[in-house]
Amino acid sequence: MSAIAEPFSEGASLAHRLDPRAKLVVAGIFAVQMAVAHTYVAALTGLVLSLICLALARLPLKKVLVRLLVVNSFICFLWVILPLTYPGEAVWRFGPLAASRQGLIFTGLITLKSNAIIIALIALVATVPVITIGQAMHNLRFPNKLCHLLLFTYRYLYVIEEEYHRLVQAMKIRGFRPGTNLHTYRSYANLAAMLLVLSYDRADRVFQAMRCRGFHGCFYSLRTFSWQRRDGIFVVASVLVLMILLFLEWRMPSFLARI
């Protein structure tokens, strides 16, 4: 049972108690705004804002850092590739390779932006159990298919993981030891194929069981959300902050140029 541990979803902090719908919407808008930001001022402000949210969520710092490490290990690749390939003024040479100033600036911006988004998502979205995310999406009138795709994936990922472990065990007890050879690749390919077939069959049976219980293509959600005053305050404050962010992004450069 390790597929989708939700270490951040339980807690009693302010960020945990906010209405999941409010958190989802704010996190979504913030992520888009950050993704399109192209100034350092906006990116840095975003990072600070997301850190404030993280502080409000009072999550175990160590686990958060581990998660950030995973994301930033991908960004490391960008630091290797982007400065060397981005056209611009060379600041550092190594044989035929040259790192450009513009490339470094650009990579720095990407690093700030991605971290701001991830931290905000950890603070606002990871603090909601996956089930509740699905229900909140349903409540926010997201397309039904999307919500149920999420909920079904969540429900059956465990089952598929269990099936995977069973198959792997069955391979191990017959003396399978992975190596760099064709036998290993073939066995893994069989494993993947078998998992796919099993999942397909499973989906078939689940659908049959649903039809037996009168399913006719329509889901009903029993979950109700209650909007509190703090949710209103959170949304209003977020809208203001996001507008400031928008101002920083679009007006700041020209504003600075004028003074």
Partner: protein, 219 residues
């Protein structure tokens, strides 16, 4: 004598690609208040029989009459599924909602009940099966026995007039098995149980039938 709940006449059914049909000219009847056990070796068609009754499989030939109504197309079977409950072999196939309460309420909601009423029915059904306090449990985190009982609750919540159970006792510990036996013995509706466990069947059914290609014969 009262009208049979299920009548099957001259059914022929073969799985695609199979060398010989599971049923050929198969005839079967289930009478009201009957509690029947279906036995037979693996692959003799016990599960297939249940799936034919629910309309999950379509026979290549023959007639099926359920509650006195001939059923042939999907629309007929949609009506059948409102009155006949099927408990699947594997509870993981049956429980797909995040929480137990939602799963038990799924059937009643599909029957057009209002959410409040559906929740009420779900709670009552769970109470009856001794599943009080399970409402907000997450379905995949239940134990095997709990999953089986919750699956039964999801079927019973639809208030079926006939219950079909596919190997309900497989993989259950003695205690859960006894619980399941008592629940079944207290039911006031007809049911058919597919099982390999003769002990379980001797407690819960009046009669055991051996499933053959042409008919079901008493052992």
């Amino acid at each position: 004598m009262s009208e049979p709940l299920i009548e099957m006449y001259n059914i022929t059914f073969a799985y695609p690609g199979a060398s010989r049909p599971v049923f050929e000219d198969f005839n079967f009847q289930l009478l009201p208040e009957q509690h029947i056990g279906l036995v037979g070796p693996n692959g003799c068609g016990k599960t297939t029989l249940l799936h034919l009754i629910m309309g999950l499989l379509k026979p290549q030939a023959g007639r099926i009459v359920i509650f006195g109504q001939e059923v042939s197309n999907e629309r007929d079977f949609v009506a059948v599924r409102q009155k006949v409950g099927l408990l699947f072999q594997n509870a993981d196939d049956q429980l797909f909602c995040p929480t137990v309460l939602e799963d038990v309420a799924f059937g009643p909601l599909n029957q057009g009940k209002a959410p409040a009423e559906a929740m009420q029915i779900a709670r009552e059904t769970m109470e009856r099966l001794g599943l009080h306090g399970f409402e907000d449990r997450v379905t995949y985190k239940l134990s095997g026995g709990e999953k089986k009982l919750v699956s039964l609750a999801t079927v019973l919540a639809m208030r079926p007039q006939l219950l079909l159970l596919d190997e309900p006792s497989t993989g259950l510990d003695e205690q859960t098995k006894h619980r399941l036996m008592h629940i079944l013995m207290d039911l006031e509706i007809a049911y058919m149980i597919v099982s390999h466990e003769s002990d379980f069947l001797s407690y819960t059914t009046h009669e055991c039938l051996h499933v053959h290609g042409h008919c079901c014969k008493p052992e």
